[in-house]
Amino acid sequence: MKIREQVARLGIVVAVIVAAVLLLRFVILPESLFSARPHQVETVGREMAKPVHHAGVAACRKCHEEEFQEKYGGKHRNIGCENCHGPSAAHVADPKAEMPRKPREREDCLVCHGYDPSRPNGFPQVDPQQHRPGKRCVNCHEAHDPVPPKAPTDCTGCHGRIEHTKKLSKHALVPCADCHVVADQHMIEPRSALPTKPDSREVCGRCHAAGSTDPLAAKATVNLAKHGGTYVCWDCHYAHLPEGRK
């Protein structure tokens, strides 16, 4: 059977249109018009190729093993070098050209060790206005292995949080040693000899039992036999702030 010419021409036109559309869709127009995938691959590649600015402790250790070991034995064991010395990838790439920061100013230490009530209990903090104002910390403390240069003479060096609370309370004039027995060893190696804590109502009763002759506690005496039932005093009264928060 012979195909009529007009049908054949029509077929050619349709074939050309179909071919053009397919060409347009799969060859000419970029895939990124139809799918997010190429953009995402490109973005991931771009992110991965970004330059590193903090080299990491492992890189520092390769040359500064001595400092690393010194730090590793001390209380700053877990602190990365670049916490204090700043981003140092440029120094790792070319040790001569870029020198990391040497933090020798007082502020460099107070960033972490200045007193702030929101810091966790037990974190060593000092009141910058009372603790050797104007002096550099590194004069007395070796930053890689920080220990007090001599045994602290009072408790506030480490227990600033409690000291600040107590200072505002009615117990402001009560010395720590009235309630806690602190061994000398505690000043040298704190966790090896923990101070005692009051263990009975009678410890508070020394001042606060009825008939106490302590003039400062005269208005706050209770009958130990009746007051508070079987609870110990510090179940309700925080000894460092006995009047409670307002």
Partner: protein
Amino acid sequence: MNKREFLRQVVAFLPAAGLLRMLPGTAEARELVGAPPGDYDPTKHWYGMGIDTAKCIGCNRCVEACKAENNVPDEPFYFRTWIERYDIRADGETTVECISTRETRPEQAEPEDPSVVRTFFVPKLCNQCAHPPCVQVCPVGATFQTQDGVVLVDEKRCIGCRYCIQACPYGARYLNPVTRTADKCTFCYHRITRGLLPACVEVCPTQARIFGDLKGQADRLVRFQRVNNISVLKPDLNTEPKVLYAQLDGEVR
């Protein structure tokens, strides 16, 4: 030129245009080769971060490190990570203050407020949600989740419409004033794919931040998950954050 010639030239031109298109493609491929580890397999990882709020001392070193590592503008209102101070008062009132906006810490102790019952710091950053609302709302598909669970922004595709900034329940995104595109924490994607820690984790002095791989067999983050009481921020939104908080106070939003 008559009609016949014109059609012939068009037919000859079309495949050539297809060839032309391949040229920038090879340039992109070259850029990808520059990316560090060729054997990095994103399907083997599912990254997350653990934050122990009881350890944070609010020193802001993480914020400084993040800004240095990721070229975040220096102005104190552009952050990929930041620290909030929560003050909870006896009457139940809670005040939240972003302490990272301060220029420097003064040479004096923070004043004690006797009405405050509890006070603590909470580091915040992009939660890298498993179901990120910011990805859903992007009208041009510029933000997406990678196979290792990190939400990234394509800064070439982003049109800066700020819709994702509104959609993020954690306020973790900002509009970068230099590129005029949305920007956010990437878990330091360029570092973690090289086997390094994110900059904030690298410098954290108290190990309040733990970075890890939730697909890892023996991983710090998996251990962190096991030994701590874990909460996430706004769990009711079902975003399934991968930033896990330990010892988190109930007041933190």
